[in-house]
């Protein structure tokens, strides 16, 4: 697993407090991990801070379904 994945996993888990083993690249953030829309936005802020991303646009957030989607986005935009 990539370093980015592990960091994403850690952040997501700090918001959701679920069994960390449940967080896999293919996990759906809403359906599998139980995050509602507010929690998802909270996680986004955490990701922006952790990866020093200025602002993840709403269109990009809407496209994020799985953990792998986050990892891809971060790897593309990390500064």
């Amino acid at each position: 697993m990539s370093d980015v994945f592990n960091r994403v996993k850690e952040i997501v888990n700090s918001y959701l407090e679920i069994d960390a083993d449940k967080i896999k690249p293919e996990s759906k953030i809403a359906d599998d991990l139980g995050a509602d829309s507010l929690t998802t936005m909270d996680i986004v802020i955490g990701l922006e801070t952790e990866f020093n991303i200025e602002e993840i646009p709403d269109e990009a957030i809407q496209k994020i379904v799985t953990i792998q989607d986050i990892v891809d986005f971060v790897e593309e935009h990390q500064s």
């Binding site: 918001y15 407090e17 507010l38 909270d42 802020i45 922006e48 602002e55």
Partner: protein, 420 residues
């Protein structure tokens, strides 16, 4: 008219979170006032408060015992206190709805004076330092006062009236009074009602310091700082926590064999129409509030055996309340009634004060013990001829007791409880 009784009490206070232990400390004359440890008080003229018990102390408050770490993200501290006290009160009452109808007839009315001040303070700093993007989506729902009621309703599935009261330091009393009316008027059978506050933070202490409302002469002897009606009083001492009761229609409570602390029989309200922070010299707002409560209870003021006063330990407010009480009780009534301020022990819990003080008033009726007014070493002239239960608790069997709460904006609330 439907009768309303208290069948559960939940308290989160500087004396802990266990009802019996809190009451024991109160009637044994202990003080919950200590040095503030939440932030560096060096630049603040007031350095003391009634914080909740911490760490390993018996009765210490641990947020995670009531609200998961995850859910704490969506609740300011005041909300966690309110949800915790509601849980304690509900468990104490034993009320567990089992049908849709019962869920729909159970409501929540827990207020606060200020609400999510700590989150507002912290978010403002984040906004200044990091910009608007870093504001949490939970910021707004974590600070709104009615979200205690919202959270309790969601947690327990209560689908009755979902409401909250905001009347500064009388929020808790108004919430209980309004919930009492809702049950009387058949809008609900059971109401979870009270108040919560968590303002021992930089803006909270700094803000009340700016008003010159806090005690500042006793930073080296915190337990002596809250001294209602004493000549050396110089302001109130802030406390924090929550006081919540389960109110229930009398037959409903009897049918399920619930144990009853006391009956709520009267509720009075008034406005001073005078000044944002000071009551009028003659205390007519406070007097009218008490008179309305007595009229509502259909009793004469002389029948009141105990008054749990607002008595905050401020120079002007204390005197005016006594003036109002004397005028309300009349000469004979004032000789016979006992009056005390439990703020001398736990401080002023602001929007939670009415909640915890209604609980203390109910306990006084139930146990026949009146909690003392601590630090009343040199009573003010206004105290002459009154029994203010100085220093030590007093055994006295009473039938009716009244609890006063007054708030900024010139708002007054009085509740009358009856021994059952």
């Amino acid at each position: 008219m439907r009768r309303v009784v208290i069948t559960g009490i939940g308290i989160v206070s500087p004396f802990g979170i266990k009802n019996d232990a809190v009451w024991d400390k109160l009637i044994n004359g202990q003080s919950g006032i200590k040095n503030i440890t939440y932030f560096d008080t060096e630049k603040y003229p007031c350095k003391i408060a009634g914080q909740l018990l911490q760490g390993e102390e018996d009765g210490a408050f641990h947020a995670e015992d009531f609200v998961s770490k995850r859910d704490q993200r969506m609740m300011d501290t005041f909300m966690v206190y309110g949800v915790a006290a509601s849980q304690l009160a509900i468990e104490d009452s034993g009320w567990a709805p089992s049908s849709d109808h019962q869920y729909e007839r159970t409501g929540v009315m827990v207020g606060s004076g200020i609400g999510g001040l700590q989150s507002i303070e912290e978010t403002a700093i984040d906004l200044y330092e990091k910009g608007p993007r870093r504001i949490s989506p939970y910021f707004i729902p974590s600070t709104l006062i009615n979200l205690i009621s919202g959270q309790v309703s969601i947690k327990y599935g209560y689908k009755g009236p979902n409401h909250a009261v905001v009347t500064a330091c009388s929020s808790g009393s108004h919430a209980i009074g309004d919930a009492f009316r809702l049950i009387q008027r058949n809008d609900a059978d059971v109401m979870v009602a009270g108040g919560a506050e968590a303002a021992i933070c930089r803006t909270g202490i700094g803000g009340f310091c700016a008003l010159r409302a806090l005690a500042t002469k006793f930073n080296d002897a915190p337990e002596k700082a809250s001294r209602p009606w004493d000549k050396d009083r110089d302001g109130f001492v802030m406390g924090e926590g929550a006081g919540v009761v389960v109110l229930e229609e009398y037959e409903h409570a009897k049918n399920r064999g619930a144990s009853i602390y006391a009956e709520v029989v009267g509720y009075g309200m008034s406005g001073d129409a005078h000044h944002i922070t000071s009551p009028p010299e003659d205390g007519n707002g406070a007097r009218r509030s008490m008179e309305d409560a007595a009229r509502d209870a259909k009793i004469n003021p002389e029948q009141i055996g105990y008054i749990n006063a607002h008595g905050t330990s401020t120079p002007v407010g204390d005197q005016i309340e006594l003036r109002a009480i004397k005028s309300f009780l009349g000469e004979q009534g004032a000789k016979e009634a006992s009056i005390s301020s439990t703020k001398s022990s736990v401080g002023h819990l602001l929007g939670a004060a009415g909640g915890v003080e209604a609980i203390f008033t109910a306990m006084a009726l139930k146990t026949g013990v009146l909690p003392p007014t601590l630090n009343l070493d040199n009573p003010d002239e206004e105290c002459q001829g009154l029994d203010l239960v100085p220093h030590t608790a007093k055994e006295k069997s009473i039938e009716y007791a009244l609890s006063n709460s007054f708030g900024f904006g010139g708002t007054n609330a009085s509740l009358i409880l009856k021994r059952v």
